[in-house]
Subunit: 192 residues, 2 copies
């Protein structure tokens, strides 16, 4: 397998910088892209280790977050509250297989293992990483006054159903964030 | 130290998504920001381990790249070929100190250690990470026909002086990239 194939893949990864999410970073009008989101998540894994309810290898969680959205290069981002979200993982597994096909087997397998561990959400590191992946857009939505929830008709019950998981993994953070969500959501509903 | 201070820092990190670099990702007209660049570098550390001329802990190198540009939240990005580049590290150390002041000591020290190791560029992981940090903008410049070099009057000698270091760390990559630089540079010069 040639070095050139690896360099080609470096530029393929650039395409994650074009995948738009629904939320905007704090203080910005533009939408966040999945590459900068992945950086944010990975660094938050190092930052918030002490908030996790169980022992966790935060460095490995950071690596899971580096890879967790790479299949979006093929599949695009799926909105957190989309009805078709359940089928996203299967499509992403196929997309990832296609993306990694040009890489040396050992390298491709290592990257795929990170994505699979994140997506299965079973190991402590994967549960921690998934909780972080859900906390960040909540913080962004709070910072923007619930704009995305209002625009997409997301109910408080949907927010709880998707994110109650955070309470098990990051209980102190959830105790702070959930009342803020309720406050912001009430305001967003009144504005609508 | 409160959980709220950690959550505040999560949103402080958002500001790295507003720091513009000089180069543009492949296929994009807009400039790259330092957050998505940091994700790209960290993932490339996992991808290109087999290209490194010496044994390296690629996972640790990825963590160094997650933190390497965080002081730019305070200081902004310094162009690779700027005359004042030598003073940048001291300013960044101060900026980082200011940024981390609100964090628990253990957490702040861990993040600062990553930045310091990257910046000292002594350990194998730091040398590998620094080489990756330099390769990515070269690939972007090649993909854009040398636009940034032309716009900023960067000479081929300057490119070699800053990047010859890559040959020691990633020799097979340098053997591919340097001739591409010469070719693109010749075209960029003729277009000017």
């Amino acid at each position: 397998m040639s070095t050139q194939a690896l360099l080609d893949f470096v530029l393929t990864l650039d395409r994650l910088k074009t995948v738009e999410r629904r939320t905007s970073p704090a203080g910005l009008d533009r939408r966040e892209n999945s590459a900068e989101h992945s950086w944010h998540g990975a660094l938050c894994a190092l930052l918030l280790e002490g908030e996790c309810a169980f022992p966790v290898d935060a460095k490995r969680a950071a690596l899971l977050l580096l890879m967790h959205d790479v299949p979006e290069i093929e599949c695009g981002d799926t909105f957190a509250y989309a009805a078709a979200r359940d089928g996203a993982a299967a499509a992403e597994a196929l997309g990832l297989q296609h993306l990694l096909a040009t890489l040396p087997v050992h390298t491709g397998d290592g990257l795929r293992a990170l994505w699979e561990e994140f997506t299965a959400c079973v190991t402590p590191e994967a549960r921690y990483a998934n909780a972080l992946d859900r906390v960040m857009p909540l913080l962004h939505n709070i910072a923007h006054g619930g704009k995305v929830w209002r625009e997409n008709g997301v109910s408080l019950e949907q927010i709880m159903a998707r994110n109650g998981f955070i309470a098990e993994v990051l209980p102190r953070i959830w105790q702070i964030v959930w009342p803020q969500i309720e406050t912001v959501y009430a305001g967003a509903k009144n504005d609508a």
